[in-house]
Symmetry: C2
Subunit: 444 residues, 2 copies
C-alpha cells in the first residue's frame, strides 16, 4: 500500500489529555481518534492492527472447537431480570440502557450470559448436544465513571466473549482448560509479557477464575508475584486470602512478594450452574433426567490488546509493533525521492509479490521526516534505498524491534543504536519470509 | 464440518409469526433466532452465510480503492446537532437514543454522515489528500414502528456504509460511478435477480441517488419498470415525476409500465456539499482557498442480503442457497449410516482436502430425515453414498439449485424432479472446483 492511501495523519506533539505512552502514541500515529469521552474511531491503520488481533484470537478459538455466532447488542430487560442482574447493573451504574418507542427497556450488552443461556436452552436439549462452546467478537458497552487511558478503559469496545455448556463439573473444567491453553497461546503470539493470576469472579459470579495480565507500569491493576513459588494473584484475591499483618504467599507462606502493575487482557471463569439454575436452563441427561448446564465464560478485550501492547512496547521515538500485530512488516523508503522512487516502487512490488505486506513511503518528503514517521508508526523493519543501493545494489535494513533483534543478521548500528544490516533484495526477502512464518513471530 | 458441530436445530413446522418464505425458512433452518421484536441472534450457520456476504462486499469495496475503518455506535448529540438531524431523527422516532451517567445524550448509529464528515475535516486538510472513500461494516440501529419480516426490517442489523470525499462535482460523480459498478458486481455475485432504480434521497439529503432492489413478491417497495425503454423508478420517484392521470414513463413517455415489488439491497447517494457546508468541513484547494468537500454515501444492508436471497430462492422443501453464499457447497450423506459412514468420512475428508467446503451428515438418522434437512438447509449439492457406491463406486449427486442446473451433467431426475448425476469422486471433485472458481458462481 502507498503511504497516503492508508496513513492519514501523524502528529509530532502529544495532546494534553493523553497520559500513558500507549494513548499518546496511538493518537499521534493516527491509529485512533476520540469523538467523545471513552468513545473512539478506529482509523484505517488502527483497524489493520485490530484485524491482526482478531485473526490470532479466531485461530485460538478454533483450537478449542468453539463455534462463532453473533448475539445482539440490544438485550431486553426481561432476560436480565431472570438473573436479577438488571437491577444490579443499573444500581452500580455499569451499563448503558434505553427505552424503545413502546417503552420496552434494553441494555447495551456489557456481557451476554443471559442471552446465550436462553439460546442454549432452546438449542441444546440433550446430553448428546454437549459439550458446546459458543463465541463472538462484537461491540460491548460500559458506562464508565471515568473513561481513561484511550481504548484501555473505553465506554464502547470490542470484546471476545465465549461460553461453554457442559454436562458436569469435570467436563466444565475440561472446557476451561482448553480455553486457558488457547489464551496462553494467543497472548504469547501477540508478543505480550504477561502473567496468569488467580482472581475473584466479581459480578459475573461462579467460582474458579483466572486473569491474564500484561505487565505494565501504566496498568490499573495490582498483582502480587511470590518470589519463592509460582503463585501470582490479583489484589482482591490477595486481600481475601492473606489475613496476616505481614502478607504472605497463600501457597507457600513465603513473605517475599513482589508487587507489579498490570493491564487485564483476558478473564476466564468457571460459572458452575449459577446462570443455568437462575434461568431454569438445562438438558436431558443420559438417564432421561433434566439437569442444569455447567457453564464457563471466557473474555478477551480485543480493542484493548492493540493499546496494551504499545504500553509495553515503545520508546522515545514511538511505537514498536511486534511482527504478529504490525499492520505492515516494514516500510520501503526511497532516501532521495527524486532519485530512488522508481527503484523503491520496484522493490516494494517484488516484496508484495513474495507475500510480504509492506508500505511504500512515496511522499516527496525529506528522509528525516520519513524516518521520524516510520519510528513513530512502529513498523518492524525500515527498508532504505539510498547510497548502499547506488554503490552495490544493497538495501539498508533497520530493525525497529531492538529487544529481540537477530544478532547475526543485524551487526551494525546507527547513531541511535538501531540495529542495521545491508542486504540484497533476495537476502531480505528470504529473511522476512522466515520471520513471518515463525508462529511466535514477534521473535525472529 | 460434522453436522452436530454447526447445525443446532431444524424445525419441521413454521412458527406463527413468520410471514414471508425467507423468515419462515431461516427460522426453521436455525439460521437466526429472535430474542425481542426486530432483534435477532445470528446462529453459527447463519453467521457463515453472513461472512460470505461480507467477503463479497469487502472484495467489491477493494475494487473502488475505499479503505475500511470503524466508527463508533454511540454518537454524541452534539455532532448530530450540527446538521439539525438530532431533532429530525427523534421527531420521526427513527433512532434509538440514550443518556449516559453524566446526562450526555447519544444516538445509536443509524448512519454516520456526521461522524465521518468530522473525521474527514480532521484528517483530509488539503486537495492532495483527496479523493478518499472510507467504509465500514458495523451494527446499525433503527427503532422501527413495526419490525417485520425477520432480518429484512430489524431494529438491529449490519450495514455497510461508505462515504466519499472529493474536490469537486465531477470527482464526486466519478466516485459514485465506481461504487455503482461495485454494487452491480456484488449483487450479481450474490446471485440476485435485481434492478437498479432511480430514487429519492429521503432523509439523507443531496441529489442523484440510485437504489438496488431485489425483485420479490414479499418486498415492501413498489417499483415501476418501463416496458419500452430501460427506465426503472421507485414509487416516490414515480409520484414526483409523473403528474399525468395516466402514468407514463418519465424518460420515453410510454404508458406501458409494469409494477413490481422489491427489497432494497443498497442505496447510493450523491450528497453534494450538504453535510460539509452544514459542518463547515473542508480542505485547502490547489489555489490555497478553503472549499467544502463534495461527498457521496453508499449503503448496503448486509444482514438483510442473507434473507433477501432466500425470499427469491426457495421452494416447498426449503432454502436454495446460491453457491456464492452457501455455508457449505454440499452435504455428504451416508444413505445407511451403519454401512456407509466410514466411506462417507473418507469422501468428506478428500473433498475438504481438495478445498471444497462440505458438511458431513454423520447422524444415525434415517435417510429420509437427512434428505429433508438437506433440502430445508439448502446446500447446493447433496452427495449420497448408497447403492451406486456399493455397485460401482459412484456417488449419487443431487443439485439443489434447479433453476440453473448443468443440463449435460445432471440428466436424471428423482421423483421430486431434482436433477441427479452419478459420478466418481474424481469427476465430482473436478466439477465442484470448476463451480467454485466461477466468479459468478451461482451459475455452474
Amino acid at each position: 500500500m502507498k503511504y497516503n492511501d492508508i496513513i492519514l495523519r501523524t502528529q509530532r506533539n502529544d495532546t494534553d489529555s493523553a497520559i500513558s505512552p500507549g494513548t499518546r502514541l496511538l493518537i499521534r500515529g493516527g491509529f485512533m481518534e476520540q469523538i467523545a469521552s471513552g468513545i473512539w474511531i478506529t482509523t484505517p491503520v488502527g483497524l489493520m492492527v485490530r484485524r491482526n488481533v482478531e485473526n490470532l484470537v479466531r485461530k485460538g478459538m478454533q483450537t478449542t472447537g468453539a463455534i462463532e455466532l453473533e448475539l445482539p447488542i440490544l438485550q431486553p430487560k426481561t432476560l436480565w431480570d431472570e438473573t436479577d442482574r438488571w437491577q444490579k447493573y443499573l444500581k452500580e451504574n455499569i451499563a448503558f440502557h434505553l427505552t424503545d418507542r413502546k417503552d420496552n427497556e434494553f441494555m447495551l450488552a456489557p456481557t451476554a450470559e443471559e442471552v446465550i443461556t436462553r439460546f442454549a436452552a432452546n438449542n441444546l436439549p440433550t446430553y448428546r448436544d454437549l459439550p458446546k462452546i459458543f463465541w463472538q467478537m462484537t461491540p460491548k458497552f460500559r458506562d464508565e465513571l471515568r473513561p481513561r487511558q484511550g481504548i484501555i478503559r473505553g465506554r464502547e469496545f470490542i470484546m471476545k466473549d465465549a461460553y461453554s455448556f457442559n454436562i458436569d463439573e469435570s467436563s466444565m473444567a475440561h472446557s476451561f482448560d482448553l480455553m486457558e491453553k488457547a489464551y496462553q497461546q494467543i497472548f504469547t503470539q501477540c508478543g505480550f509479557d504477561f502473567v496468569q493470576v488467580t482472581a475473584d469472579s466479581g459480578t459475573i459470579g461462579g467460582s474458579g477464575s483466572a486473569e491474564f495480565m500484561a505487565i505494565s507500569d501504566t496498568g490499573e491493576d495490582v498483582l502480587w508475584c511470590c518470589q519463592n513459588c509460582d503463585y501470582k494473584g490479583n489484589q482482591e484475591t490477595f486481600h481475601n486470602l492473606v489475613e496476616n499483618a505481614t502478607p504472605e504467599c497463600p501457597k507457600c507462606k513465603n513473605t517475599n512478594l513482589e508487587e507489579k502493575r498490570g493491564i487485564e487482557l483476558g478473564h476466564i471463569f468457571q460459572l458452575q450452574q449459577t446462570y443455568s439454575k437462575l434461568m431454569n436452563a438445562g438438558f436431558m441427561n443420559s438417564d432421561g433426567i433434566k439437569s442444569f448446564y455447567w457453564m464457563g465464560c471466557y473474555g478477551i478485550g480485543i480493542s484493548r490488546i492493540a493499546q496494551a501492547i504499545v504500553e509495553q512496547s515503545n520508546d522515545e521515538q514511538g511505537i514498536i509493533w511486534p511482527l504478529s500485530l504490525a499492520p505492515f512488516t516494514g516500510v520501503v523508503i526511497p532516501v532521495n525521492t527524486d532519485k530512488h522512487l522508481d527503484t523503491a516502487i520496484n522493490i516494494y512490488t517484488q516484496l508484495q509479490q513474495a507475500g510480504i505486506n509492506v508500505l511504500l513511503d512515496d511522499r516527496p518528503k525529506h528522509i528525516g521526516e520519513k524516518l521520524t514517521d516510520a519510528e513513530l508508526l512502529g513498523w518492524p523493519f525500515q527498508i532504505l534505498i539510498g547510497k548502499n543501493w547506488d554503490q552495490d545494489k544493497k538495501l539498508e535494513v533497520r530493525q525497529r524491534w531492538k529487544k529481540n533483534y537477530d544478532r547475526e543478521m543485524f551487526t551494525q548500528k546507527d547513531e541511535n543504536s538501531t540495529p542495521l544490516a545491508t542486504l540484497t533484495l533476495t537476502e531480505l526477502q528470504n529473511y522476512l519470509v522466515k520471520c513471518i512464518n515463525n508462529p511466535n513471530n514477534q521473535l525472529c
